[in-house]
């Protein structure tokens, strides 16, 4: 297939997917009646915490918050009262393959910027449907870092009234990688030098206007600043390579992994980089566990990377090692949404955002606080709906899966 027909096919696929996305978000699939959700502590965004307040959900979105709710809307809404619980925005999981490497790592070629993760999106994928158990309400499905340029990510949600996931934004960031996994010993490039050179050459060609085709179009978007870029990079030379490329070609880097970020904090700050940190574990060296607080002190924005089950634990460990709670919660919600320009849709409970929230029995950054419920687009996908004898759609499934963490 030549490049032109490939582009045409891609266009028609885009339309088909857009209509599919619209169909999955159809109003018929969200509750017709407004919901008035109440609880003692309501975190609208990390810097806006309401006490003894409420929010009104209409057609799966946040319609009003707190005092803004009109009396007539309140009167007509169905009350969902979580009492003394804490309600926070749903967690946003930054770029991940959700364990689907075989679908999202195009092994034949190292450089495939025009592939789209959304083509491999499976609304019924088990890993996707399990995300609400971990408080995750939206996720950036992304090509694997095994490719130098893997392709474009997509924002998807793990649930809807139908039970399957849905696509929110089909084309997002370009996923680049200088990480060890991108250097395949069986194909070019095998080395970091080669990987940096290959990316530089491709970007230079796009800049010079000599290159054509869908991949050049995407790279030109990067050069013009209209396309976000993630670069998977862990070690110092990988991170520096990514920052050098970002500086040379004028894009604002989002770095995935960033294990050795402590070595180049001034550069990260200077280039306004955002980091998606590797998950934290109890057994990691102190320096790794202190990295989030070091970055926060320096003013480098960051969020935590997957897997989903370690997202909350990462934030808790970061707090244990000096990070303030507000920044930790921001890293789980608003930062990933803002980083990929999706803050109007997810990551907070401001008017117009999806009604994606998680309810905890106490402070969400205390692992002892029970996880009571996860709502996506105004639908309770996990846990109980207070005052409703009917169990939620997934409560039965959660009950047989103790790992769900619903008490």
């Amino acid at each position: 297939m030549n490049r032109c027909s490939a582009a045409a096919l891609r266009g028609s696929l885009l339309l088909a997917l857009a209509s599919l996305a619209a169909a999955t978000a159809a109003p018929g699939q969200t509750p017709a009646q407004d919901l008035l959700v109440r609880c003692q502590t309501m975190v609208i965004a990390p810097d806006t915490v309401l006490q003894g307040s409420a929010l009104l959900v209409r057609q799966g979105k946040i319609a009003y918050v707190g005092d803004e709710i009109p009396a007539e809307a309140k009167a007509g809404a169905k009350l969902v009262d979580y009492g003394s619980a804490v309600l926070v925005p749903g967690f946003v999981l930054p770029p991940t393959t959700l364990g689907r490497e075989r679908d999202l790592a195009e092994g034949a070629l190292p450089f495939t910027p025009d592939l789209r993760a959304v083509e491999a999106f499976d609304p019924w994928q088990e890993e996707l449907l399990r995300l609400p158990q971990h408080g995750v309400t939206s996720v950036l499905l992304s090509p694997s870092p095994r490719n130098l340029a893997g392709g474009l990510g997509a924002l998807v949600k793990p649930g809807s009234e139908t039970g399957g996931g849905r696509v929110v934004t089909p084309e997002l960031q370009l996923a680049l990688s200088l990480a060890q996994v991108a250097r395949n010993p069986e194909r070019e490039p095998t080395s970091l030098m080669g990987a940096i050179d290959a990316l530089r050459t491709a970007l230079q060609k796009a800049k010079s206007g000599l290159a054509s085709g869908p991949d050049a179009l995407i790279l030109r978007g990067v050069l013009e600043g209209s396309r976000k870029v993630t670069v998977a990079a862990d070690t110092y030379p990988e991170l520096l390579g990514a920052l050098d490329l970002a500086r040379e070609f004028g894009f604002q880097p989002v770095l995935l992994g960033a294990t050795e970020a402590h070595k180049l904090v001034p550069r990260l700050l200077e280039q306004k980089a955002t980091l998606v940190l590797n998950p934290l574990r109890f057994d990691q060296p102190e320096r790794q566990l202190q990295l989030p607080s070091l970055l926060a002190e320096a003013g480098v924005p960051f969020c935590f990377g997957g897997p989903a089950e370690s997202l909350r634990l990462s934030a808790v460990l970061a707090v244990k090692h000096g990070l303030d709670r507000r920044t930790a919660l921001t890293a789980l919600t608003r930062t990933p949404a803002q980083t990929f320009d999706q803050a109007a849709l997810v990551g907070s409970l401001r008017q117009g955002c999806g009604a994606d929230f998680v309810v905890f029995g106490g402070d969400p950054l205390d692992l002892g606080s029970p996880h009571l419920a996860t709502w996506i687009d105004g639908v309770c996908l996990l846990g109980t709906v207070p005052g409703n004898a009917r169990k939620s759609k997934t409560e039965d499934a959660a009950a047989v899966a103790p790992a769900a963490g619903v008490r």
Partner: protein
Amino acid sequence: MPRPHFAPTLSLMALLATASLAAQTETRAPAKADGPIAFTHARLLPGGAAAIADGVLVVHNGRIAAIGGADTPIPEGASVVDCRGKTITPGLIDASFRTAANVADANEQGSEITPQLRALDTLDPEDKLLLRARAAGVTAVHVMPGTRSVIGGLGCVVKTAGSEPRTMLLKEDATLHITLGAEPSMGNRAIRGGEVDSIYYRRPTTRMGVVWEVRRSFFDAKQALETVAGAPQPADPGTVVLQKVLQGQLTAVTTARSEQDLRTALRIADEFGYKTVLDEAQDAHLVLDELAAAKTTVLLGAPSASLVAGTGAQDGAEPRSATVAQLAARGIPFVITTGTNLQALDLVREAMFATRNGLSPAQALDAVTLEPAKLLGIADRTGSLQKGKDADFVVWSTDPLDPAAVAESVHIDGISVLAPR
């Protein structure tokens, strides 16, 4: 030997220096010292000039402000460090240094010919071998791509301290690295009726094949150059690098350990009319006449080692301890390095070893300071203690060629950068 001491006021200064070192190690951005510092009563081995038994070295704003005998005026307000019993030399320069970077990262195997790739991209200022070398008195290193490709790419010269590789740079595209011998063909496989499912089914699989790759690359680059002369045409970045070598604008460094590889390196350079430095020339003692005639510089990787250098150690060279003295006797320019040899000692110990095999102490020190600086084109900045040059020097507990010598402080741009041992 009496233990060297600092004056009481200077103890505080030393403490402060240690504190600033700690800060530097953490922030990776050493601050410049404020006022001048005078190192007094030291035995100075300036390099390229006579030794000074009781000398003064004044450092200000990262440069050497003055050097001379005991009567050298000390600027007003200068901090004074009493170096009685100690020896100060220029910072050592390792002209063929292997970092701790993963072998896979320093060797691009996607192609055997990758002249445009840069070793600088693999450099970490906190590389553990770099820190170790720095603690042993090395203040600048020449880092090249690895020895698994025929033409691996561009080498760079960096100081051993700095906030990031670019701030450490003395010379960015300093050399082009070529490797002859068995190593570049290691892992390549011949196609014998099987299924081709890997990039390693390719040439070269033999020594002949390695040479063919070098010859073909330079031939193509030369052809492209001739075409360009008639009608300008853009060349790919790799070809541009090779053309710079052909035009004498870039130094080639050929790793050639055995006699046959050394002869081949000289033959190809002669054939295409470029100059090459010979790296890890362990069989240099067998081609002395040719080396003398070619007037090429020899990088003598780890002269103390009995092991053949290289990751495969398959080159069949016969290292001899006396090679270094033979090169000196014939007037063949040489530089002592550590290279890829797994038996390599710290650079200063390699120089010490050379003196045990017939080299004069002055020649041995020059071979790790002034000579590599000249070879790498950085002698205007470093390599000897001269007024105006960068203040890159080492304060040794005693004569650096004494087996008991310890680098007590290592200074780069006037800042003490010695990592804790």
